[in-house]
Amino acid sequence: MNIRYTADELAFRDEVRAFVRQSLPADIATSVRLGKHLNKEQHQRWQRILSTKGWYAANWPVEHGGTGWTVVQKHIFQEECAALGAPRLISFGVNMVAPVIIKFGTEQQKACYLPRILSGEDWWCQGYSEPGAGSDLASLKTRAVRDGEHYVVNGQKTWTTLGQYANRIFCLVRTDTDARPQQGISFLLIDMDSPGISVRPIITLDGEHEVNEVFFDNVRVPVQNRIGEENRGWTCAKYLLTHERTGQAGIGTSKAALAHLKQVAAQETCDGRPLIEDPLLRAQIADIEMQLMAIEMSTLRILAAAQAGGVPGAESSILKIKGSEIRQAISHLMRKVLGPHALPFVEAELNPAFAGEPRHADYSSAPASEYFNLRKLSIYGGSNEIQKNIIAKMMLEL
């Protein structure tokens, strides 16, 4: 047994590290570290940098412009980027719809969509959740009725992340209402500028506009925009849900957040001493760091199995639960370390372009907002309760 990366993998890691350190624009790194709300331009700029390097579509096969990396390399890339403060890639295009198109799409669809994702021309969003459905994805109600060479789509999607930036949306729609819930669903690609689509912002408790409702009012979608067979969309959805789930734990992100927490705790004081020297706080940080080490080891074990051809099962659910708990715990401590300075809510300071004097310190503007925003981690993508149901069913057969 050996928990260390191979020499090749270490060399790869160093290459990634060097590249990211050199290429990640300072304004973007700062925005990420301080928890500011990244804007569209920043996301696109970082995507372009990776795309130019040929590293944007890390998970694609080489023939479509991907990297051809091993499972471990993909992991190293993802975690190094996160740990060095790069923004999380907006995955809806490159890591969600693209793998589905590659797996189930026609040659024409591949030729049409993949290059536009690579180049950043298309910004995709996801039309899965519906009001009243929550974790019960298969209960969706948005209908698509065939009308010649089109589907006519009516209904509503919700929690559509960054839908306000998107020019395309991939949707699960019901094409057969008589079938059992998980059947009769189709997977459609829809242009956001189609007549009949409207987008309404959902403002979350932290004041952020990150998610949206998307309404479909007699939206006509060409049949050729369907991926896979009619009524077999659940297959695509399931493929997407199980595709590349090793990044669930968000270890790199948590590492970066923990490092930042320590820095801030070394600057904030209580009783004339840096807070990092407070035994109770220090113990809480140590506890989290050790938990993080544990899920990192668990992740490596799953990776090694995946490298050898295994398909990660409900272990991903464990990582998702623990990963979200750890990330939330860090954001909780970050808020606490700031004491009263966590209270001010000055939205202007959350803008990456903010150039004024910060209220208390540059690091104190965002943590409370971020803490509330991150409540989502245990809710979306299958709530932690749903994940435990999955563990009980799949791993324990209860």
């Binding site: 004041g207 509330f372 809710i379 932690n384």
Partner: protein, 380 residues
């Protein structure tokens, strides 16, 4: 032992509850929040007209003569409505300091307007480095001809840009963290050298930071004895803590009721989600936390008026600790039980959640009070 409200307290509760229900619908609150002062001056006016702003003050000083149980009643209802007015900071904390420390002259010139609610107070005690420690005062007041010149910074003073007088702690002698040497001054924010920059807090109310550059205050602006303000600050912060526990209680009760409703009406996988045992048990946990918090809020109200003692300090610290923990648990779990909808700005629950979590950033969070209790704890 008696856990019943008196008839008068019952009436007080009905009055405030009705007022909040009628004036403080969630949409109305959003309007108050967006307004320049950040709360409803009309609502404040009504509190004043109904004599509620006078509740925490002695009858001899024109007040209603209410005790901390009356404060409990009022704050619980204000908490239930997520009210933004500075009742706690102006009437209970600031007003309490004034009442405890004011000399006859100050009583005459200041108190009547405070009691009536015309003149609002804010208490400036946090500093950039102090992290909840009232004794950590770097702000200094230098004796000058006819008064004092104060210089320093105060952080996150709750009470908005609208506070008419600010009670500022400043050091007139001693080292930065000495217990003695801290004096309290009544500051007119219009005075020369005062820079006040306001902002909303993430849980709703407005606050401000204060930069004091050689601000002159006359001798008559000192509250209480020179250098001896710490005891009163601590004592009155104890009363404020009791009131804050009540506020959290009202908010938690509302969250509890919204969440229980949601579990009963929201369906998933073909049945009300309240039928899932895991969610039932989570709700039982919430219920248990709420019950402990309620007990501690009541206890805090009952002891906050007692003379200063280690027992009173221990109980108030314990109340703050237990309530802060419960509040965070209830807030987080209520969001979790609601799912995404619990995170939206347009649903009152999310604002309650913010309030419940962020209350712990005033007067010390649970870690702070755990440390305080550990020091005060009897070990033999």
């Amino acid at each position: 032992m008696d856990f019943n409200l008196t008839e008068e307290q019952q009436m007080l509760q009905d009055t405030v509850a009705r007022l909040v229900r009628e004036q403080y619908g969630f949409e109305a609150r959003e309007g108050f929040y967006r307004s320049e002062v950040g709360f409803s001056t009309a609502f404040w006016q009504q509190l004043s007209e109904l004599g509620l702003t006078a509740v925490p003050f002695d009858e001899a000083l024109g007040g209603f003569g209410g005790g901390c149980v009356d404060n409990l009643v009022i704050m619980t209802e204000l908490g239930r409505g997520l009210c933004l007015e500075p009742f706690l900071h102006s009437q209970i904390f600031g007003g309490g300091l004034l009442q405890q420390l004011a000399n006859p002259d100050q009583q005459q010139t200041l108190l009547p307007q405070v009691v009536s609610g015309e003149l609002q107070l804010a208490v400036a005690f946090e500093e950039p480095q102090s992290h909840y420690r009232l004794n950590d005062v770097a702000c200094r007041a230098e004796a000058v001809e006819g008064g004092w010149r104060i210089s320093g910074r105060k952080s996150v003073v709750i009470g908005g840009d609208s506070a008419d007088r600010i009670l500022v702690s400043a050091r007139t002698f001693g080292e930065q963290r000495d217990d003695s040497g801290i004096s309290l001054f009544v500051l007119d924010p219009a005075a020369e050298g005062v820079s006040r920059s306001g902002y909303p807090c993430i849980d709703g109310p407005r606050a401000f930071d204060l930069l004091l550059e050689k601000v002159f205050v006359p001798s008559g602006a000192m509250l209480g004895e020179e250098g001896q303000a710490l005891g009163a600050l601590r004592y009155q912060q104890g009363r404020a803590i009791a009131a804050q526990c009540a506020e959290a209680l009202g908010s938690m009760e509302e969250v509890f009721s919204l969440t229980l409703d949601y579990l009963k009406t929201r369906k998933q996988f073909g049945r009300p989600i309240g039928e899932f045992q895991v969610l039932q048990h989570r709700m039982a946990d919430i219920c248990s936390e709420l019950e402990q918090a309620r007990s501690m809020a009541i206890m805090a109200a009952c002891v906050a008026d007692e003379p200063d003692s280690d027992d009173r300090s221990r109980r108030l610290t314990a109340a703050k600790y237990i309530v802060a923990r419960a509040a965070r648990f209830v807030a987080e779990q209520a969001i979790q039980l609601h799912g995404g909808i619990g995170m939206t700005w347009e649903y009152s629950l999310s604002h309650h959640a913010k309030r419940l979590v962020m209350l712990s950033h005033q007067f010390g969070d649970d870690d702070h009070h755990l440390g305080v209790y550990a020091q005060l704890m009897q070990t033999a």
